[in-house]
Structures are given as structure tokens and as C-alpha cells.
């Protein structure tokens, strides 16, 4: 398979492989388009299995003209069986958690950024930039540092302190914008016109977003070259959600895996749920919202891939649901105490929606379900506050014994 052109997802117009991202005829998003004809499944599988221990093992399916490289290679994160979580939810299902916090900067964003930074170098850029809700900021700053590129990172100024610290430390130009993510995004769209920079999620978006497909590829490979029956995945812009679908579809098309697309369940926070709302209302476009949620990494009120996320959920028989801030915190706690994985608020959203699906009886007996945990709990520590109690004692035995009264005397 080789990269051929950029193609408009709306009207099909094709464009050269440069730093462009929307169609001049209809404003639709451009997507990387490949020629599948020269690729046989056996050869592709051999190359994958002989490849690196990260996303570059899937180079045949990534948007490069040469071989991509990156000093901070993400991917091959653990896929863990979560029987205790299934039991707590009353599920008689084969439940798996894909822990994508186990990436170099602790979120799935390392996948898209590694692809975008490698592409920026292939296209000859020496500065990369992004509009971010936090995780992307961490990843861009780190990958730019590793690659020796200059970087500019734009975030809402009121972001969680942990995410600001975990960005600034890499020596990037960190810009806190007084506004929400959608304001930051608009500013970056305007800047992309005047600065000769590779904005990973603006003018390099057709390449960047392809990195999310590697989550689907890894899922298939880690399940022994089989598909799950259902996936539960958070939705912010909708890009991850749709690209995971594209990843499965590509492998179905070339015969690397057999079966059909899993059911796609999308997860949003109630305080920023433009896709869940559009799903419930039966709309095919999203009405933008002003985000008000603790799940800041998902706080995109105007999701660029919203229409495609809706299509993906509907065509696979899935849904898009939302959960409250309280349910998000409960979800973080539930995942932590049943799997040993401490996730950030976005993961709390995903687990909260999983619980909702379980309670509603949407998940059948024996179903194989994969839940995508996209980020690390240490980045949103506030969400863990007041969820447990510490026992404070003096450093002597009596003090301990009186705190933890023994039922049976020793």
C-alpha cells in the first residue's frame, strides 16, 4: 500500500500531498488516500511482525512517502483482561482495557503526534505547533524536543496545572490563551495561514489523524488477529473514534482480519456533549456547545469530526452516551480499584459510559469488549481528591491498633 493523495471526505476532490487540510471546493476535511492494490495480507503481516516494537511496525498503513522515523516511538501499549471490572459491572463478557496511558507522554496523543512530527520533517518544516486541550500539548512539546524541532503549543490558559507543567518542561513556547479550546483552535487556524509552521492538528491534520488507526491495528494484533465485538471510546473532536473505525476497515478490506466492524460506543462528558446530543436528537451535524466539565481533555464544543463520529456509531449499531462529572469521578475510581489503572478524566468518561451500557443491558453475554483508556490519572489529580480517606496515626502500635481495631485479639 502506498500513499497516493489527499482526498476530500465530502466531495472526493483530490489534492497533492502537502500541508493542506480542507477542500477548496466545499470546505470538507482532506484525508490521506492510499493505493491498496500492491499489498497482500501475508506480506503485510510478516512486515508488521518483523517490525519495531511500536507504531512504525504499521508503516505500510501510515501516510509517508519514505520510511517514517521518530526517536520517541509510541505504541504497543498493554491490552489487559479486566475480569474484575466485568464482574463489578455484572457483565458476563470478555472485557479488555487498552491502556494507552502507557505511551511516552502518557496519552494516545503520542501516536498522532509521532506521525505528524515525522511528516513535518518529511515535508521540510522546522517548527511544529498545535491547539491543545493538554495531552496533545505534552506530546507535541516532547516529540519536538526529541526531534530537535522548534515548537509552539497553544492551550486554554485555565488548563490543569499538571498538564501545563508536563508541557513547559520540554522547552516549548507555551502559549496560554484566555478562552476555551474552540477559541484556541480558531486562533491556530488563523495562525496556520500566516506562519510557516506545521500545526499538527490544523494543516497537518490529514496525516496526524492517521496515527489513531494504530490503536485499531494493535487491538487486532493483541487479540490474536481477531476483532472485538464492541469498542468503547471517548469522543472529543471525533477523530480518534472515526480513525479507529478506519483502521479496522482497512484490515478487513485487505484480509488481514476477518469478520465485521465492531459496535462503536462513543463516550462524552455531559458538560460537553455535542456528539451525544446530536446522536440522541437524530441530527447528522453537531450543534456547538460551551464546555463546562472536569473532562478538559474532551472539552471540544465544536467537534470537527462530529458528523463522521455520528455516522460511525450509527452504521455499526452503536450509540454515543454522556456522563456527569460525578459519574466521571466514579469511573476513575472504579477502573483504579478493579484493574490497577489510574486514568485521567477522559478515562473516567469512558468507564462511566461502559457502566451505563452495562446497566442498560446493551452488552450481551460472551461479547468481546475493548475499552480505550486514553490518558493518565496523574495529569488530572483533582478528580481523585475526596474519593478516599487517609488514616493518620502516631508512629506506635497502639495508635495503629486503635485506628484499625482488631475483631479477634492476637
Amino acid at each position: 500500500m502506498s500513499l497516493e493523495s489527499l482526498k476530500c471526505k465530502e466531495c472526493g476532490s483530490t489534492y497533492e500531498l502537502g500541508a493542506s487540510y480542507f477542500c477548496e471546493n466545499c470546505f470538507g476535511p482532506l484525508e490521506a488516500s492510499y493505493d491498496h492494490s500492491g499489498l497482500d495480507a501475508d506480506g503485510a503481516k510478516r512486515r508488521i511482525q518483523a517490525g519495531s516494537q511500536g507504531i512504525w511496525r504499521y508503516a505500510d498503513f501510515l501516510p509517508f512517502e519514505g520510511r517514517p522515523g521518530d526517536p520517541l516511538e509510541p505504541g504497543l501499549t498493554p491490552l489487559l483482561r479486566a475480569d474484575r471490572l466485568a464482574e463489578r459491572l455484572g457483565l458476563n463478557a470478555e472485557l479488555w482495557v487498552k491502556n494507552d496511558a502507557a505511551n511516552p507522554t502518557h496519552s494516545f496523543k503520542d501516536r498522532v503526534v509521532a506521525v505528524a512530527v515525522a511528516k513535518a520533517r518529511e515535508l521540510g518544516f522546522d517548527t511544529v505547533a498545535c491547539a491543545s486541550t493538554g495531552n496533545l500539548a505534552n506530546a507535541v512539546a516532547a516529540h519536538a524536543a526529541a526531534a530537535g524541532l522548534e515548537s509552539y503549543v497553544f492551550v486554554p490558559a485555565n488548563l490543569e496545572e499538571q498538564k501545563l507543567l508536563a508541557t513547559g518542561i520540554y522547552g516549548t513556547n507555551l502559549v496560554g490563551v484566555r478562552g476555551n479550546y474552540d477559541d484556541v483552535n480558531r486562533l491556530c487556524t488563523q495562525l496556520a495561514e500566516t506562519r510557516p509552521w506545521a500545526f499538527v492538528n490544523v494543516n497537518l491534520r490529514p496525516y496526524y489523524s492517521e496515527g489513531s488507526k494504530t490503536l485499531a491495528y494493535e487491538t487486532v494484533e493483541q487479540l490474536g488477529w481477531e476483532l472485538p465485538d464492541r469498542v468503547v471510546c471517548p469522543i472529543a473532536s471525533g477523530s480518534l473514534f472515526t480513525k479507529v473505525g478506519r483502521g479496522f476497515q482497512e484490515w478487513l478490506d485487505i484480509g488481514l482480519v476477518a469478520g465485521e466492524q465492531p459496535v462503536f460506543n462513543g463516550a462524552q462528558a455531559q458538560g460537553c456533549s455535542p456528539v451525544a446530543t446530536a446522536f440522541a436528537e437524530g441530527w447528522d451535524v453537531c450543534k456547538p456547545q460551551k464546555p463546562e466539565t472536569i473532562a478538559k481533555s474532551l472539552a471540544i464544543g465544536d467537534p470537527a469530526d462530529g458528523p463522521y463520529a455520528l455516522e460511525q456509531a450509527r452504521k455499526t449499531g452503536g450509540r454515543v452516551d454522556s456522563v456527569t462529572d460525578e459519574e466521571i469521578k466514579d469511573g476513575i475510581r472504579l477502573l483504579a480499584e478493579t484493574t490497577g489503572i489510574f486514568t485521567e478524566t477522559a478515562g473516567g468518561v469512558t468507564v462511566g459510559v461502559l457502566r451505563k451500557l452495562a446497566e442498560r443491558g446493551d452488552i450481551g453475554d460472551g461479547e468481546r469488549v475493548v475499552v480505550y483508556i486514553t490518558g493518565e490519572g496523574l495529569k488530572t489529580l483533582d478528580a481523585a481528591r475526596d474519593r478516599f480517606q487517609m488514616h493518620e496515626i502516631d508512629p506506635d502500635l497502639d495508635s495503629f491498633e486503635s485506628e484499625f481495631r482488631q475483631e479477634v485479639a492476637v
Binding site: E10, S20, Y21, F22, E24, N25, C26, F27, G28, P29, L30, A131, Y181, D182, D183, N185, R186, C188, T189, Q190, A192, E193, F199, N201, V202, R205, S209, A236, S237, G238, S239, V285, K287, P288, K290, I300, D302, P303, A304, D305, P307
Partner: protein
């Protein structure tokens, strides 16, 4: 009401290279009609059946018109109308 409409780079072929177009109108809809009057090629790229295409965002002085009254959003003196693709971010 005289306003400045900012045109994204990729559409400037349709405005003869102009990055900004000066027109007048009292709502966003009127302003856009005036732009299309001057640069006919833009109409089909930005609108479909009289509505904005689904990947077109329009802002009046920085605020998305979908948070206001859409194409009926009133225009004040000195407002700036910006047309941007909606496909960035995330």
C-alpha cells in the same frame, strides 16, 4: 453597515487574491450575499441550498454565529466577519 470579511488563503483565487473584502449589510446573511455578489465563485463553495455548508464556520468579531442567530446575526459598525474551515483541531 460597512464590514470587513476575511477570506481564507485557499479561497483567494475566487476573490482575485484579496484577503479581505469590504461590503455592507446588516446581518451575516446580507453580508455574505454582498460578498457573493462581488465574487460569484464563492457562493457554491461556502453555501449549499441557501445554508452554510457543514464544514464552514463563520465568526463575527471572534464569536461563532451558531452561538448567535446564525445567518440572521446582526452586524455592528466595525465588526469583522471571518470565514474559516471547521475541520481543524482535536
Amino acid at each position: 453597515m460597512a464590514v470587513t470579511v476575511k477570506i481564507p488563503t485557499q479561497l483567494r483565487a475566487a476573490t482575485g487574491g484579496e484577503a479581505e473584502v469590504e461590503v455592507s449589510g446588516s446581518t451575516v446573511g446580507e453580508v455574505l450575499d454582498a460578498v457573493f455578489e462581488a465574487h460569484g465563485d464563492l457562493r457554491e463553495r461556502i453555501t449549499q441550498d441557501g445554508d452554510l455548508r457543514r464544514f464552514v464556520n463563520v465568526y463575527v468579531s471572534g464569536e461563532d454565529i451558531r452561538f448567535q442567530q446564525g445567518l440572521d446575526t446582526p452586524i455592528g459598525e466595525g465588526d469583522e466577519v471571518t470565514i474559516l474551515p471547521a475541520v481543524a483541531g482535536g
